[in-house]
């Protein structure tokens, strides 16, 4: 192959290696974490903009950058591909994307669970059973889909009784206004805005599924193991920001207002969304939840993922990916644990040892 000079091979190989270098697990000083707009994650943006991130990073001699992504799934994909050290994700998406993709992932902060943020909305109809036979607009394979599957179980229906129409979350509100859309599953802030329509009735919401849809800061397990200071700093940032929000001072109000504005609503709208979010305001509350029995919730989530083919196409059962809980209990394949709950760092916060 005389048209294939050696330097070209070398150059292509080098390029390929640079393109593909995954996050290396080794002690390091610079960390990058991504968040996207969601009521329970707004404190991260505030912490980044108001020096709380820098304060804690400096304390441990690290550089931490908390960047905002406009596209939630893209942030998780980037984390999975190795270009981020942590990402804000639901427990379900973290299990389905990075963990199934072989990236050992730890839920470092379980910030809240959805307590009504995800809702099934029908046009003109009043009860969940009326959903039978309808086309349902939702983001397929998302927590909305999970909420729908769980809701259908409660009225003895299955996904065969409806037609799912995959719809982009960015277009939900516009979609609701079109005449051919009669049923929708989505999350806040879209739910709040759609329910302003007098024809819209919320027939089921995630307050009936307490603790199942968790919103977590997940980080690469190896990175965390090699850099415990990174974990301490992140937990420190989180609880300092939450304490500020809860302090009742003028700064607290200003902080909430700034978060409301950043999420495209006003203070009242933001407070309304916080009401349907079970936030763990103190380290003790978070330790109590994370250290509690999360097996039933994770078991339902992994079964949903399995029946929808999200645990891999060759997965023989929902056991293919192991899940480790804070007390060391493991469900699924013990030799392939890729998703872990860890309460060590939040305990340090609870004990004031950060």
């Amino acid at each position: 192959m005389k048209f294939f000079p050696k330097f070209a091979i070398a150059a292509m190989t080098a390029l390929a290696l640079v393109m593909s270098a995954p996050a290396q697990a080794a002690p390091k000083k610079e960390f990058k974490v991504a968040w996207s707009i969601y009521v329970g994650w707004m404190p991260w943006g505030y912490a980044q903009d108001h020096g709380i991130v820098k304060k804690w990073a400096d304390k441990y001699g690290l550089k931490i950058e908390v960047v905002q992504f406009n596209d939630y799934i893209e942030s998780i994909n980037q984390y999975t591909a190795g270009s981020l050290d942590g990402v804000l994700s639901t427990n379900m998406d973290a299990l389905a994307i990075p963990s199934v993709g072989g990236v050992d992932t730890t839920a470092l902060i379980v910030g809240d669970y959805s307590n009504g943020n995800d809702a099934i909305i029908l046009k003109d109809k009043k009860t969940l059973a009326d959903i039978k036979g309808q086309k349902v607009n939702l983001v397929e394979l998302s927590v909305s889909h999970y909420t729908l599957a769980r809701a259908l179980e409660t009225v003895g229906l299955s996904e065969k009784d409806i037609t799912v129409v995959n719809t982009s979350d960015a277009d939900m509100e516009a979609a609701w206004k079109t005449p051919d859309v009669s049923a929708m599953v989505t999350w806040n802030p879209m739910v709040a805005s759609i329910l302003k329509d007098p024809r819209a009735n919320s027939v089921f919401d995630s307050s009936s599924l307490p603790g199942e849809i968790q919103d977590c800061l997940v980080v690469n397990t190896d990175t965390l193991k090699d850099n415990p200071d990174f974990g301490k700093a992140m937990v420190g940032i989180w609880f300092e920001t939450l304490a500020l929000m809860q302090s009742g001072t003028p700064e607290a109000k200003a902080a909430r207002e700034s978060m409301a504005k950043a999420s495209g609503t006003d203070l009242a709208g933001f407070e309304g969304q916080l009401k349907t979010t079970k936030m763990f305001w103190t380290p003790a509350e978070m330790v109590a939840f994370t250290g509690g029995d999360l097996v039933p919730a994770m078991d339902k989530v992994r079964n949903f993922l399995f029946t929808h083919g999200l645990l891999g196409n060759n997965a023989p059962s929902a056991d293919v990916v192991g899940i480790e809980f804070a007390d060391g209990k493991i469900i699924g394949d013990k030799a392939n644990v890729k998703f872990r709950f860890n309460d060590d760092y939040m305990k340090l916060a609870a004990d004031g040892k950060l």
């Binding site: 294939f4 190989t13 593909s20 072989g102 037609t163 129409v165 995959n166 277009d171």
Partner: protein
């Protein structure tokens, strides 16, 4: 003269040179995939050939458990139908307006500025309006394709029409042709092959709008599948789909080119 511009590659070398960029891309992929998989065997970003092959078999040749359909076939038919309707409607509208705008001074006075301005509106930015006007079903997907490519076809055809030698129009008039007869007998026959060129050039944009429309709200389609699979980084499915779309687009372009050559042979008279 032994200058670079005068040196012709042999037939064999031409083929090798043509294959080289493709080979380089494949090689870069193989190396990068190998590197990632050696660190994490479950890596999904750059799957290896056997994983991709398994995905192709699963999507293309095994009936889906839930619906009993072959997913690749179902997606392809749905997408091609939308694309065909959208492009056909856009061709008719674009051809009509383009010829009128290029030929009739009154039409040009009214439309030329309007189409130039409309051509600059990014259709994806006004999606909510399209949805509320045309619903979320098949119609809005077709409309997005039409809105996306009509301005280009109109402007291209208007330009081509106005480039017709003025002598031809004068000649036709001295023979007593009316405006209508000139359109039918002089302009239209010459514009049809240009219209095909114009459609060929718009096909790339048409695919783009089709996939965007399917990403936003759909139950099937090539774009739907890609955006659904993206939700869990199933690149083993996405890469064959991208390859398939490229192949379909290339084939469509090829068919149009052959059709034009065969139907409008006169255009190529005098060429080698």
């Amino acid at each position: 003269m032994r200058r670079l511009i005068n040196q012709q590659p042999s037939v064999l070398n031409s083929l090798l040179l043509a294959a080289l960029p493709f080979a380089l891309v494949l090689l870069a992929y193989a190396v990068a995939s190998e590197a990632r998989l050696s660190i994490n065997p479950d890596d999904k970003l750059l799957p290896d050939w056997s994983t991709i092959e398994a995905a192709i078999i699963r999507m293309g040749f095994v009936a889906d458990l839930r619906t009993g359909n072959f997913l690749l076939l179902e997606d392809t038919m749905a997408s091609l139908q939308r694309l065909a309707i959208g492009v056909a409607v856009a061709t008719v509208i674009g051809g009509l307006i383009g010829i009128l705008q290029g030929l009739i001074p009154y039409a040009r006075a009214m439309l030329a500025n309007f189409t130039s301005v409309v051509a600059m509106v990014p259709p994806l930015a006004i999606l909510p309006i399209l949805f509320i006007t045309f619903g979320l079903g098949e119609l809005s997907k077709v409309v997005l394709i039409v809105v996306g490519i009509v301005p280009f076809i109109v402007r291209d055809l208007a330009l081509r029409t106005s480039e017709l030698p003025h002598e031809e129009l004068i000649k036709a008039q001295t023979l007593g042709a009316s405006t209508w007869q000139i359109i039918l007998r002089v302009v239209l026959p010459q514009m049809l092959p240009r219209l095909i060129d114009s459609v060929r050039l718009s096909l790339g944009a048409a695919w783009l709008y089709l996939i965007a429309a399917e990403a936003i709200a759909a139950e099937n389609g090539l774009g739907y599948r890609i955006f659904l699979m993206r939700r869990y980084l199933a690149m083993d499915v996405i890469l064959p789909y991208v390859f398939w779309i490229t192949f379909l687009a290339f084939t469509l372009d090829f068919i149009l080119r052959v059709f034009q050559r065969v139907t409008f042979r006169w255009m190529y008279r005098g060429q080698a």
